[in-house]
Amino acid sequence: MAGVLRMREAAAPGRSGTARGALVRLVLVRLAASFAVLWGAVTATFVLLQVMPGSTADVLLARSSVTPAIRARLVAEYGLDDPLPVQYLTYLGRIARGEFGESYVLRRPVWDEIAAQLPDTLLLVATTLLVTVVVSVLAGLLSVNRRAWVRSLFAAAESLVVALPPFWLGLLLLTVFSFTLHWFPAIGSSSPAGLVLPTVALAAGPAAVVAGVLREGLLRAMEEPFVVTARARGIGEAALRLRHVLRHALLPVTTLLGWIAGSLIGGAVIIEIVFSRQGIGRLALSAVANKDMPVVVAVVLVTAVAFVLLTITVDILTWVIDPRTRDAGR
């Protein structure tokens, strides 16, 4: 897309060294702040898991038939009888050293488990983001220079799609295209065909929201005085949209996409359930149900890191798209 190419041009060499320094500084400040966020996320998770009713050992052993010796062994090994502050500090210390330990329930190193589940979730989130961007930019560009009734038709369609609960959309897609027509597999994660319906179900809402925001942004940008100036230079409408207007409209979209990408990991949970996909969302939910703290905390950490990286990416993208932010610092 031309809009993307122009962004790259804006970031091309020739930028002053101080501006690049400002970016580096911005990223460093963000990284420092993000450690606080990570610590907060871990602590909050720990506290919530502790105030959940029921002792961890009871929940852990609820489905089993164990001898007292084994119960004592479990309690001792996981440090479940230590005072809470000790448990907390011990756990924090281990995380700081990069040891995430072993799942209480799955009895495997937490990292192995996350490494097994994360790729499928990331794949789904990635295809969803891609579809969201492509569909919304197309819908935004196609609808913006149309007559008012065409725009309201697009807007109405977007409102409808946003109002559809994603799990229901998934259910309908599954029933129609998988159970009835057999076009797509009913189960399974990794095959490209198996990715189609979950992606559609997950991307529909965000794509509609982004398309709406993009069109609003395009319309607003079309009102700006520089559009009159650019038209007065005799350039064509397509060039005007791609070279001038789209980039302005992309600014709010970038922020929105960052937010959406973050929320997709949560949204993927429901889709993973409906489509029987493996993934980190289902892993996390079952871990919460089982009070499996090492897994819950590790998932929270992974998603929090993803959140931090996304935020920084959005900042960098904004920095690239909008030169005004470069000198303002933050």
């Binding site: 966020v37 919530l48 009713p53 409102s159 409808l160 229901w168 259910l171 929270v300 959140f307």
Partner: protein, 266 residues
């Protein structure tokens, strides 16, 4: 109000009435199981058919309006109040408070929403109230950020500066000028959130974190329908339409209100 919005306003009024006085809309008991009439298709006796327990779907959708809408509304109201409090505090109490509160909001954002709701519901115990609190916690950052940004934006407004010149205290200025004028963005966010919250609360019920059975709730009804989709499509379709129509009505009417507010304010 434009003519095209009348039907949606009517839908909204209807839904509110259903939530308040469900018995006005149906004489049937939503929880009355009828073993002889399991999974009956829509017809004269049961307008929208019956579910796997022979319960009248229409009655359940009518009675489902209250929990389905109340969780979302409650969550938005809670988030609004808490978000405004946090946002105003972050904007007004100095840099350290701002940093602490802003980073705390980041913490909430950094945990996937559904996981956080799940944690909160696990702590509070399942039920409508917990679901509402859980959803509110997840959406506090949105409201708080808007509140903080609005307070900071309006604090720089000349009429706020002028108000300081009249001798009001800081708190008085915030109460008299800042918050009332931030109502527009709050209203916008609240209506957008309300739609999203209704969808989210139905998602929660879908995974079983909503009100306790046998309470009729649209998301829970859809979850129940899954197993019988091969036998009967209606329990898997009508509650979904109910959610969608409710969200559409809230969104469209909300958007209209927003536009009117925006037009009124410069």
């Amino acid at each position: 109000m434009p003519r095209s919005l009348w039907p949606w306003t009517a839908v909204l009024v209807l839904l509110a009435a259903m939530a308040a006085f469900p018995s006005l809309f149906t004489g049937a008991d939503p929880d009355a199981a009828d073993l002889e009439a399991v999974l009956r298709p829509p017809g004269a006796e049961h307008w929208l058919g019956t579910d796997q327990n022979g319960r009248d779907l229409y009655a359940r959708i009518v009675y489902g309006a209250r929990p389905s809408l109340l969780i979302g509304t409650g969550a938005v109201l809670l988030a609004l109040v808490a978000g405004v409090a946090v946002g105003v505090a972050a904007a007004q109490l100095g840099r350290i408070a701002d940093q602490v509160l802003s980073r705390s909001l980041d913490v909430i954002l950094s945990v996937p929403g559904l996981l956080l709701v799940f944690l909160v519901v696990a702590v509070l115990g399942p039920g409508s109230g917990s679901a509402a609190v859980g959803l509110a916690v997840v959406s506090v950052p949105g409201f708080a950020r808007v509140a903080r940004a609005e307070v900071i934006r309006l604090r720089a407004a000349q009429y706020v500066e002028a108000a300081h010149g009249f001798g009001w205290s800081r708190a008085q200025v915030v109460a008299r000028h800042v918050l009332p004028n931030a109502a527009g963005p709050f209203l916008a966010l609240a209506t957008v959130s309300l739609g999203a919250m209704i969808v989210a609360s139905s998602s929660l019920s879908f995974v079983g974190l909503g009100p306790r059975p046998p309470t009729a709730e649209w998301g829970a009804m859809l979850a129940d329908s899954r197993e019988f989709l091969a036998l009967a499509w209606w329990p898997g379709v009508f509650p979904g339409i109910a959610v969608t129509v409710a969200v559409l009505a809230v969104t469209l009417v909300g958007q209209h209100l927003n536009r009117r507010v925006e037009r009124r304010l410069p």
